[in-house]
Symmetry: C2
Subunit: 400 residues, 2 copies
């Protein structure tokens, strides 16, 4: 057998959500009558807007006719019609991104994981803790040094940079998964200043931007001065338009991002990334891209906004119940996630078991997202409205 990548063997054996699925499946098998409500994995439940599906079907029909059949996409970076639609979407909240700076992908997770391939393994990676496990795992797979910035109760789970610590790559996510916290423009500016001072790149995950309702909370890091000199942004239609099963997202790499190659010449990061993707990716399914473009049409945005509002109402149901129980939380506002302190000083997994066994409700233990998550818990607002209400009624009846 060839040598294995030994970094893999040092990882937790399973991805967090696979572990949770196994626990839930075991419980369901042992308790076939239990009426389980799933508020764990951040997966949407509302159907996709009709106009988006119609666009996909139209794209599919084109594939059945020789004159309109589409084979490989020339660039593999997304059709112009979609990149222009995404550029227009950015413009709708005041951010200028050229279509050529956008690369369409099969979901933000893929690019979040693969983007680091273009950077050396000797870089130091700074990740907020708690965080989406992909950021940590993907860098540990390459043996990179990972350091953490603490997000905790004191700072409202919105870690800020420490000028005494150096980092080369920085992962930020706002609205945050798992804590639901958001960065203000001023806070993001502090991160940008820190990144520029450290010659670092911020990998900014804006997958939940569509949930932002408050003024002063940027929907893109590129809404903040200086970001074009230090940030790559990744977004997805998964949460914006219910695309978790459709698979389409996009990455923005500003033209300003250049680096000196070994021979002294300058190389654009977008070209390096293009070289990586040109060898390991072949673009997104054409009918999926047709569907994605329809999300940004007038009708698509309208229908999609209805779904977001639906989830926001769920978030309020969860937040109201926690308020009633006197439980401290972040998120719920500007975010589909509610992150709360486990009642009675319980540990995250201890509370997970209690909630599953006694209320038949599945959530996500905060400890699964990093050390600062211990004692905290995540619920998602992505469920059915009636089931969300039912889950919180059951929660309220728990005895601690």
């Amino acid at each position: 057998m060839p040598h294995l990548n030994e970094n893999f063997l040092k990882l937790e054996k399973n991805y967090l959500f696979i572990n949770i699925a196994k626990k839930v499946n075991a419980f369901a098998a042992a308790n076939p009558d239990a009426d389980i409500i799933r508020m764990g994995i951040g997966d949407v439940t509302q159907p996709i807007a009709r106009c988006v599906i119609d666009a996909m079907k139209k794209g599919a029909d084109e594939m059945a006719v020789k004159e309109t059949f589409k084979g490989y996409e020339d660039s593999g970076t997304g059709y112009d019609f979609l990149k222009e639609a995404i550029s227009g979407y950015y413009k709708s909240f005041g951010v200028d991104i050229k279509p050529e700076e956008i690369r369409v992908n099969d979901g933000a997770k893929s690019d979040c994981g693969n983007i680091v391939d273009i950077f050396g393994d000797d870089n130091t990676v700074l990740i907020t803790d708690p965080a989406y496990p992909v950021y940590v795992d993907t860098n540990r797979m390459n043996g990179r040094k990972v350091i953490f910035a603490d997000s905790n109760e004191e700072n409202g789970f919105a870690a800020m940079p420490d000028s005494g610590v150096h980092a080369d790559l920085i992962y930020l996510c706002s609205p945050n998964n798992p804590t639901g916290s958001v960065y203000t423009e001023q806070q993001l500016k502090a991160w940008i200043d820190y990144a520029i001072k450290n010659d670092a790149i911020i990998i900014y995950d804006s997958a939940y931007e569509a949930f932002i309702t408050e003024e002063g909370i940027p929907r893109s890091i590129f809404a903040v001065e200086g970001a074009r000199h230090c940030a790559i942004e990744m977004c997805s239609l998964s949460k914006t338009a219910g695309f978790t099963g459709m698979r389409c997202g996009y990455t923005v790499i500003p033209d300003e991002l250049c680096a000196e190659a070994g021979d002294g010449s300058m190389v654009k990061l977008t070209d390096l990334w293009g070289r990586r993707q040109g060898s390991k990716f072949n673009g997104v399914s054409y009918p999926v891209q047709c569907a994605a473009a329809a999300v940004f049409s007038e009708e698509g945005l309208k229908q999609t906004a209805e779904n977001i509002k639906y989830y926001q109402r769920n978030a309020k149901v969860i937040a109201d119940a926690l308020d009633e129980m006197g439980i401290k939380y972040t998120g719920g506002k500007n975010s589909p996630y509610i992150w709360f302190k486990c009642p009675n000083g319980m540990g995250s997994w201890e509370f997970f078991d209690k909630l599953l066994e006694e209320a038949n409700v599945v959530g996500t233990p905060g400890a699964g997202f990093g050390k600062n998550g211990e004692g905290w818990f995540r619920l998602t607002a992505f469920g059915d409205a009636e089931r969300t209400k039912e889950a919180m009624e059951r929660f309220k009846k728990l005895k601690f």
Copy 2:
């Protein structure tokens, strides 16, 4: 700026087909009236079977209804209905593959490129030359040592192992891209014996298996004894069913493939790969999987076979023209590629320019696939039938 992955800077600046596209675009811009026939990139042109598109549209409609909506796929390795269909397809040519050994992906290129992430960078990689550039580039991106097995005129462009050379990872492709050559069962057995002797893994690309018509040419490496102990197979619906723009393929990792982890415990390769994909991939679009499953239905196989026959007739047109001109070639039989010696001792790129400029036909210079490709040239049978005939008529009129 963080340190770059310096291995990237040592690669050819562009992926081969991007270079060709640039040359062709420049020629087209300078000669707007030229009637260019494209037989370069191995991309299909026949539309997708109606029953396959209907299955995709049905899947799309399910996404628009709450009761049938699909979010994240639990496993991210493909729905059971598709894995069972692929398993049944293998069975149709006498190969037993369990559905659990199959992982559905967004195309063979992604997995061909990413699979090496689970192996250490200190492995020696053996690649036949000429070869699909992805095999070489993807390993050079990680700084792995790449050695070559010569495919050349003497061995009919079907390189065989050299017992005096050690390798840990071996890439084989049959029917071969770019040379159209195929391995017999005996030849594959020799590679399997070599791999087992070297404790190596064969990464077997069977993307063109649907073009095999002759007896004794395996459609899967798993048709050959011993392969389950040393091989991973990657296949795709791109060429089988015209999915280049749809994006769906599959990887088979037999249960037998295990390795010793650092702590002495045994780890299955499929689990290591699952750990990689669990962090960097989120499965294939549900409607695309519905379409893929329909390819393997009775009607799907029938309609798809018609397209393969169409391309096989094109291959014969190309082969007949070369025979008429007295030009030596491999492929065309059991393969959509025809690989021929450039007339008059010309170099590959020299012939590329002549064919483009004087016949307005685009092919692929053999030199782009490795040193043994110099002086050879690839044409594909994936074009329109009339245009293929026209291209060969123009070719025959060229003066050397």
